[in-house]
């Protein structure tokens, strides 16, 4: 059975916010959304999340805009302190984002919006939340 989980969807497009929420509606997750970098930063400052689903292009009308990536350093700190996991969900990520995501930031997964498979997405989310629980347990034990 899936863990209860607190999920933050960082996504500027309303239709994608709805799509991702719909895919997770049958699971015991509480879901918040942020449609900008600023809103995401504010929420992350004041709340603990098990998982952040991060879009990279948060101003969809601007090509070559990857402002979602600017959250990665903050998210790395939250991972170390609270176990928060990250799945990048993007249609425009480039190979170097995926490489740095896995190698530098140890993201839980990278999902290409253009090939989103509902079952695979749900599995990735459940796995990441489980990982967040495990990691938080280790962080608490170490304290």
């Amino acid at each position: 059975m899936a863990h209860e989980g607190r999920v933050l969807i960082v996504e500027d497009q309303r239709e994608w916010q709805v799509e991702l929420q719909n895919l997770l509606q049958d699971f015991p997750y509480s879901i918040k959304t942020a449609d900008s970098l600023q809103k995401a930063s504010d929420l992350l400052k004041n709340h603990v999340y098990d998982l952040v689903l991060l879009d990279l292009r948060l101003r969809g009308w601007e090509e070559a805009n990857f402002d979602g990536w600017e959250l990665m350093d903050t998210l790395a700190v939250l991972k170390a302190e609270q176990g928060t996991q990250v799945i990048i969900v993007s249609a425009y990520g480039q190979a170097h984002h995926v490489r740095d995501g896995f190698k530098r930031y140890r993201i839980a997964d990278y999902i290409d919006k253009k090939r989103l498979d509902p079952w695979g997405f749900q599995q990735a989310v459940a796995g990441a939340i489980e990982k967040a629980y495990e990691l938080r347990g280790k962080i608490l034990d170490a304290k």
Binding site: Q94, A95, H96, V98, R99, F102, D109, Y110, D112, R115
Partner: protein, 180 residues
């Protein structure tokens, strides 16, 4: 004395082979080159390597990513060398599969290759492999395993000798169940 670092390089472009050789001097690196997945598979069955440097496009076709198929072969190798992919054409999905499914230690873009970062990536791959294999088989077991792997890849029958007094684990499990 530092042990040599055995590297299998799967790369079809001679200019890049030279480039890699110049970045990884002998000693401590001993580089074995394969131009095709088939050659690399044979070398892998014959010898053990600390790291594999893997190009993805091994034929001059736009949609060729045959190097990815070697990841499947490597996944069955034991002990499994660390893998660094070095490619100019990797797509986000290749990078994802390489890290997530096959646990590569790095994915380097040939177009932005930085010599010191590259060397650091190879050193890291080699040391990870050594740390991992040190926890696994003893040298004699490794040798026996390599002989069996070589036979398997060459199509020779592989025969496991079972001592006469060996207990069949399936029968043992049945006995335990009956006792319960």
């Amino acid at each position: 004395m530092t042990r040599e670092s055995r590297v299998l390089l799967l790369e079809d472009d001679p200019a890049w082979v030279e480039q890699f050789r110049s970045m990884l001097p002998t000693p401590p690196y001993a580089i074995c080159v394969a131009e095709t997945v088939e050659d690399a598979t044979r070398l892998l069955a014959d010898q053990s390597f600390d790291a594999v440097l893997l190009d993805l496009r091994l034929r001059d076709w736009e949609e060729d990513f045959s190097g990815m198929s070697f990841l499947d072969v490597l996944d069955r190798a034991y002990p499994r060398p660390s893998v660094v992919i070095v490619s100019a054409y990797g797509q986000p999905e290749h990078v994802r599969v390489a890290f997530k499914q096959f646990g590569v230690t790095d994915f380097i873009d040939k177009r932005k290759l930085d010599v010191s970062e590259f060397r650091a990536a190879v050193e890291d791959a080699v040391s990870r492999h050594r740390a991992q294999s040190a926890r696994h088989l003893e040298p004699d077991e490794k040798r026996e395993f390599n002989v069996l792997t070589r036979k398997f890849f060459s199509g020779e029958p592989v025969v496991f000798e079972v001592p006469e007094d060996a207990v069949n684990p399936w029968e043992r499990d049945t006995d335990l169940t009956e006792e319960d």
